[in-house]
Symmetry: C2
Subunit: 205 residues, 2 copies
DNA sequence: TTACAAACCAAGCGCTTGCTTGGTATTGTC
DNA sequence: GACAATACCAAGCAAGCGCTTGGTTTGTAA
């Protein structure tokens, strides 16, 4: 299962919009705008212009502006949960599984889905409370993947800290890369992954 | 130099507003509102109401709404730079200096200045570009403190990763605590500091 | 060709926003 | 007690916002 086939499978199940379709294109542009300007500063006119339609026409596809934000977040989580699951499954040892997770999350944050991931981190408060509840449930599945792997490492005696705390620290550390990491800065994602592993004192893979 | 005397000294030098004064109170309330609702969602009417005046009266103290955001950020950085400097100076060994920095930053993020620190992290994009440049300069001083300490640890052979990358990872990890850490959750800030140190494999202090 | 729904446009409504204005209390100073 | 500076209020303006409306085009299938 490579990344493309995972995406296609999700599209087929209607869990993620086809990036080539009208809805998918809008969500992609919306993610870009939301990341660059913030949700509040992005107007429905901006969103409409980005896909070449009138602002009013947006409301044919989405009932409210917030529904667009929610869709961006929901689809991003769905895609990334699937990608993470695949990354874990592909790795064999516990340490490799962690490394695979770190690498995959860095990829999510700084690669194709980067805009949407940044939105997930920084535009959380712009979601209505009920949407937050829904998105949070999806996120729990995603988080459990991490916690399971970290727990095994703890039992192996490789990790000294609490898995729960470690995961939250890693969430922050990895999310934050979106604010400073640039692929063309002489540091590849593999390098970055290695740095994180080194920082945790787990270099001896 | 305890925290209170540091604050008083900054107030005396007019680098930070007196928390008891009109301006200081407004900035404190603004930080709270900006954190809770976001800068864009907070109206000048909200800000005025929080200190019991009319919205128009705000513009007697600040020329624009954005100037309020900028002031919150600038004063927070000034205060925290001084606090960090004191924390480093008070510690003796290299490891203790790092631990002191971590502890101090956790305190900043989750203690008294927590609202303002959260604003600094999450409302960055709402600053005008020229304000960003100014705030960034202040931040560099602050960051240099960290880099110096991390570099010594690297030379000691205790830290395997690049100080620059480590600092950025720590920035993310520590900032992120604002989204999940609650002092009443059975985990003290000392515990949390210990967890971070443990996560970095530096437990043997 | 006809029928019908999905996709879209042009216009604008009602409301909220940041900020301005002209004037009135309050405070500090000699 | 005079006088200015400071702090504030009450009212509202211009612009921009999310979203609605009524009508037109486009795509699809019999």
């Amino acid at each position: 299962m490579n990344q493309d086939s995972i995406l296609r499978s999700l599209v087929a199940d209607n869990l993620v919009s086809d990036p080539a379709g009208a809805r998918g294109r809008l969500l992609h542009e919306a993610a870009k705008l939301f990341r660059d300007k913030g949700y509040e500063r992005t107007t429905v006119r901006d969103l409409a212009a980005a896909v070449g339609i009138q602002s009013g026409s947006l409301f044919h596809h989405f009932r409210t502006k917030e529904e667009i934000l929610k869709a961006v977040m929901v689809e991003t989580i769905r895609l990334n949960t699937a990608l993470m699951q695949a990354a874990v499954d592909a790795a064999s040892t516990h340490r490799e599984k962690l490394q695979a997770l770190i690498r995959a999350e860095l990829e999510s944050i700084n690669g194709q889905t980067g805009e949407a991931m940044a939105v997930l981190v920084f535009e959380w408060r712009s979601l209505s409370e009920e949407s937050q509840v829904y998105v949070l449930e999806l996120r729990d599945i995603y988080e459990q993947l991490w916690l399971d792997v970290l727990e095994t490492l703890r039992q192996d005696g490789v990790l000294a800290a609490d898995p729960f705390v470690v995961r939250r620290m890693l969430t922050g550390a990895l999310s934050w890369t979106v604010t400073w990491y640039r692929p063309d800065g002489g540091l590849t994602l593999d390098d970055l992954t290695a740095q994180v592993v080194a920082m945790m004192g787990l270099t001896s893979l």
